[in-house]
Symmetry: C2
Subunit: 401 residues, 2 copies
């Protein structure tokens, strides 16, 4: 069970945004008792949903005064124009007013909204108005899993990770949650992730470590290469532990944060739509890290490589062909490809090993290490990538029906 | 039926390269009675198969002295190292010797080899030696379809196109053949295509128009985004019609050549592995043609768009999200998306049309026009892209079993 960091209270309610009377919560709330420093990492898609735009606005006005995160599933409030922005702002006012009636004062501009679900439809503001009293009333009575469940769409399991960290001055806590499933890809996805921390940390240092941790984790996973309009990753640090992170403590906090985001990112791929495998791609020996990343992404996105992994087929030819078309210059004779510890390709040729016999068992595992060495350069990159299965096609060709 | 241009003779034989006694031909030959000017367009993959390397060598030594093309299916002779290059050269010598015994003199260095099939394995030179007498004996007794069938691997139907063209001075003929199916993508693929022409044309002009025609056709199709080690496109013009193409005739010949390659490229997508749909993507209004092409490729490669088309789902959200992550800067409010003539998206919002009712019938067709306007720029691009079906996953996850 993931502990809630100090000074945070969670809430959840059922607004029936999907209109299907599913009887599960679809509205979640995080409130910090005191203003927190906040970091945000957002989708790079040109089409940014209303909650992304509003969050960016609120962060730019006061990223050290954030008090709450409001998250809903079922309606993404994307491609909804001016009306969408108004609805987003109204939703925050409704939550703020409902909280005020329970004696909790959080102004709307101290809130960060996040939405996930069907895009294009306007949010149903009557459902918001009807649900916020129950949301406010539940504050402090919801645990981390209850918060995640309010965010889930097609996710098969709730995604949470936490750390307790002994620092000079005392113990601080990190708790992270995420929802994912479809449209997961580099540069964020149909993905919402929230990280709460009770350390006191300099706002700029927090934002910097957050960006780096996201780059090393969420931006190194791929389910299908598609990036959504709503991808958002928020981090709040409220200082409620009373522990101020000094210069020497920053790397320790960053390490713990990276581990939490790394666990969440792994869970996103493992629970990618239709995924049966997680390729752990590690490219080394490239001239630069950028070159290594290009090769990792080309291999990880290759439909032929993905279907081969689904079929438990040690098809070195597809891996080699993908590396060769990545737009990176390397010596084909230097390439080495190792799958699940078995070297498949070296010196421009497949090795003479009996791949099918050696790899029959290893390829039944969910996690498949795939090591690709391009030569003797120092550039390297990692990527977690899902396979491509019949279930992916079924889920995505029948999505609306 | 596609007529063979004058001065060319075709041959085919069964070498049983697949080792399965399939009883079908897998070795093809084109011989021009006189030296032809030749153009070649090759894979951009770093891993170029032995026949690609040997062809490039022969073209660089005398691109106006090419007499023959030797094509085999079943063994790709890719990732075969030095031995592969030696085998490739030996295969041409075997064909040359066999032809000499029938009184046809074609030196190996006037031949262009092309191979397709399983990569990594060495060619079986005993099978070559055993098959070349029958190949040489069949010269002149094989029609265009017979040549294509010797090239086919997982292709569902033979791909051929032809033109007769009245030019000042007389009539010239073009005949094109292609094989495709898997690994079809921009910048050539597991693709071999040959075009024969009996016009007399300047070698540089022929090479130039060939490059442009390939860019406008083969490099504008995508089945799965993967590029193979063997993709080759050859064009021979031998002048046997006696018609020399003058300055005024060049654009006419280029138009006919582009049409032939365009028909072949369309057939490649239609017969892409598991393909049930061909998206005709047309991006307009971009700042530059390059921007338009990036958007077209991102949409055409999106697994979510491809599965939606397979599912006959007018899912504008996936198309818009793909356009928005293409790495191209445009005004989201200016984007317009029209599928099968029905406008789905405009002014940052889905239109109010009843997509499901309007598009139920149109989406049952194989050919789906998808028009994407980014604004009022002059840049545009076209791409033909396959959908992503259960059959694709089945074919590619069971490939080796």
């Amino acid at each position: 069970m993931i502990q809630i960091p100090q000074g945070f209270r969670l809430a959840a309610a059922n607004a029936d945004f999907r209109g299907k009377k599913l009887g599960r919560s679809d509205l979640g709330l995080v409130v910090s008792d005191t203003p927190a420093v906040a970091a945000g990492v957002f989708t790079t898609n040109l089409f940014r949903a209303a909650p992304v735009l509003v969050s960016q606005e609120h962060l730019s006005r006061g990223h050290d005064r954030i008090r709450a995160i409001v998250v809903n599933s079922g309606q993404a409030n994307a491609c909804t124009g001016e009306q969408g922005l108004e609805n987003c702002r109204l939703s925050l006012r409704l939550v703020s007013d409902a909280l005020a009636k329970t004696g909790v004062s959080v102004p709307p501009e101290a809130m960060l909204p996040a939405s996930t679900g069907v895009i294009g439809a306007h949010m149903d503001m009557e459902k918001w108005a009807a649900a916020v009293p129950a949301l406010a009333a539940s504050l402090g009575q919801v645990d981390v899993e209850g918060l995640v469940r309010a965010m889930m769409t097609t996710d098969a399991f709730p995604k949470m990770a936490g750390r307790e960290l002994a620092l000079p001055g005392g113990t601080v806590r990190l708790a992270g949650v995420a929802k994912g499933a479809g449209m997961i890809c580099p540069n964020m996805a149909t993905m919402i992730s929230l990280v709460l921390c009770d350390a006191a940390v300099d706002a700029a240092a927090w934002a910097d470590m957050f960006r780096r941790a996201a780059d090393a984790t969420f931006n190194r996973v791929s389910v299908d290469g598609d990036t959504s309009t709503n991808d958002s990753l928020y981090g709040l640090a409220n200082g409620a532990s009373g522990v101020r992170v000094c210069e020497a403590g920053l790397p320790l906090l960053e390490k713990a944060l990276t581990e939490v985001l790394g666990e969440l990112a792994y869970m996103l791929v493992k629970d990618g739509e239709g995924a049966t495998k997680v390729m752990h791609i590690h490219v080394t020996g490239a001239a630069t890290d950028e070159d290594a990343e290009k090769v990792a992404r080309t291999v990880g996105h290759s439909q032929l490589v993905k279907t081969a992994m689904f079929g438990r087929d040690p098809n070195w030819g597809r891996i080699v062909a993908a590396a060769g078309r990545a737009g990176v210059n390397f010596d084909p004779l230097a390439l080495r490809v190792t799958l699940c510890g078995v070297e498949l390709f070296r010196s421009g040729r497949p090795t003479d090993l009996d791949f099918d016999a050696l790899l029959e068992e290893p390829l039944k595992a969910v996690d498949l290490p795939l090591d690709i060495s391009l030569g003797d350069g120092h550039g390297e990159a990692r990527l977690l990538a899902a396979d491509l299965s019949h279930a992916y096609v079924s889920l995505n060709s029948d999505y609306r029906s």
